[in-house]
């Protein structure tokens, strides 16, 4: 038991060391890189070089627009579909539900080639819309919200209907306010998934104006190969990672609970 505990601390150290080392390296003067594990001269030069070497602010802005764009459309489409699957009866409901299930099994990553074709047929290559569009429908969101809506008693809806409310009003007045935790969990998962998305935006963007931060970082890495620029690259990595990491440290519990909730269904 003692041994198990000790090995877990070693494991923890293994998890922490690469990041801490990158963090420390990013503050080291370029000339001293590689001349030993620990150094105690610090500088912000790497950050200023990295910041001026690529339009990170623009990339951040692009990512923010893309992520929020995806999320808002997802919330809209998923809420409506979830309401139908939770509360309405109609012919073909089961079959349709299975078709929705398929999207959970076939992630967009598997369809990058044909989806690229579709996006270029729409002449949307190198737009933010191209990055967002394949994710506008989310089976995960539909399932999570459907589960949640199902747990809301029908009497509430009946009462509202007698008062003359249509389904849209019923959704906004009853279902939305009662499902806030589910919406928060789904939003957190959606935002962090799409913030980290890489391969698809790499394929469909090719300008600073539309590139998200992940693609921006990979291009920046590609242009720096030699050891002298090593430190600048570590700084760029930290610049990209910092906001997410800070958000995680502040809302740690919420993050983990959200992932747990969306995973377990």
């Amino acid at each position: 038991m003692k041994l198990m505990r000790l090995s877990m601390y070693v494991l923890g150290a293994l998890w922490l060391v690469p990041f801490i080392w990158v963090f420390l390296t990013s503050f080291q003067p370029r000339e001293t890189i590689g001349s030993g594990l620990f150094q105690f001269t610090y500088t912000l030069d790497n950050y200023t070089s990295a910041w001026s070497g690529a339009p990170f602010l623009q990339y951040y802005l692009n990512t923010t627009i893309i992520v929020l764009g995806i999320l808002s459309v997802q919330l809209f489409t998923a809420t409506l579909a979830a309401y139908v699957f939770a509360k309405m009866e109609f012919k073909g409901k089961e079959i349709l539900f299975v078709l929705f299930l398929v999207q959970l099994m076939v992630p967009n990553e598997a369809l990058i080639v044909p989806n690229f074709q579709i996006i270029s047929d729409f002449s949307l290559i190198d737009t933010k819309l191209a990055v967002m569009m394949p994710y506008f429908m989310t089976a995960l969101g539909v399932f999570l919200l459907r589960q949640q809506f199902k747990s809301i008693p029908a009497e509430l809806e009946e009462a509202a209907r007698i008062d003359g409310c249509g389904p849209l009003r019923i959704i906004t007045k009853i279902y939305l306010p009662l499902s806030v935790p589910t919406y928060v969990a789904f939003s957190l998962v959606s935002v962090s998934t799409h913030w980290n998305n890489f391969l698809w935006p790499l394929i469909v963007t090719n300008s600073e104006k539309n590139r998200p931060i992940t693609v921006g970082l990979s291009l920046f890495s590609g242009s720096y190969e030699t050891g002298a620029q090593f430190a600048v690259l570590t700084a760029a990595t930290i610049i990209v990672v910092a906001p997410l990491l800070l958000a995680f440290l502040i809302f740690q519990r919420q993050f983990m609970n959200s992932f747990m909730q969306t995973g377990i269904k």
Binding site: W15, P18, W21, A81, V106, A110, I112, V113, P134, F248
Partner: protein, 290 residues
Amino acid sequence: MKKRLRTKLHTWFFLLPSLVFLILFTFYPMIQTLIQSFTHTFRGETFFVGMENYLMLKDDKVFWKVMGNTVTFVLAVVPISMALALSMALFLNRKFIGSGIMRAVFFYPAIIPSVAIANIWLFVYTPNFGLLSQFLSLFGISSLNILGNTETVLWGTIVMAIWKEAGFYMIFYLAGLQNLSKEIYESTKLDGANSWQSFSRITFPLLMPTTLFVLILATTNAFKLVDHLVVMTGGGPNNASNLLLFYIYQTAFSYWNDSKAAVLTIIFLVILLSIAVFQLVVLERKIHYR
């Protein structure tokens, strides 16, 4: 009557936005790819070629290399990260000073972009300057180039993938452990079972539904993990670290071989759908069992 029609209209009107995107970006591309995998386009003309595109893969050495790598990658990453995830969860299931911090330490790679993770591990593996090189040089071991060697490069990426994924699966095991009742443990303690016995006879079997769920999640994820290849190795050297999804990407966007990319995509879809069928058959049964 009028009311019924209105409900019907609402139903379809509400489903429409989701359906449009579901068809456009999931079903249409799947069918399109299937058709394309049986055709060949030459000078703007498209011919139906039957199974030819599939049969061509038979003698494609790179394809088999990539498939072999993918199998190795998945078979290494999935069980090892799951075993680590379970150990982490068992370790953190009880509250102690610093358990919150440890939990965050294991989990944080899950929320960092994979490109940034690839960068971090690039720094670890870089010869001379890298963390690993510098660490080993303390013991007089001279520089080794993990990412430049066909023997080691795949394992270098496997270690990185485990580091990225294990903490993510940990949280599902933590949730699973919290659902187990305390009373069972107390009764086994009275029976004099040691901690290994109570783990292997009680905890692990009771965690089976969680394990199956994580297994599906981890396997699907492992097939999708290719972002690091763009940054770290480009699939090389000599395709030694190449994986199926990255190979699809290269075939389509570097070699512009659409028919072959379509065939590879179909193979990828078949793999993913088999996992889904396995899930439906095995996982559903287990849940009822519980």
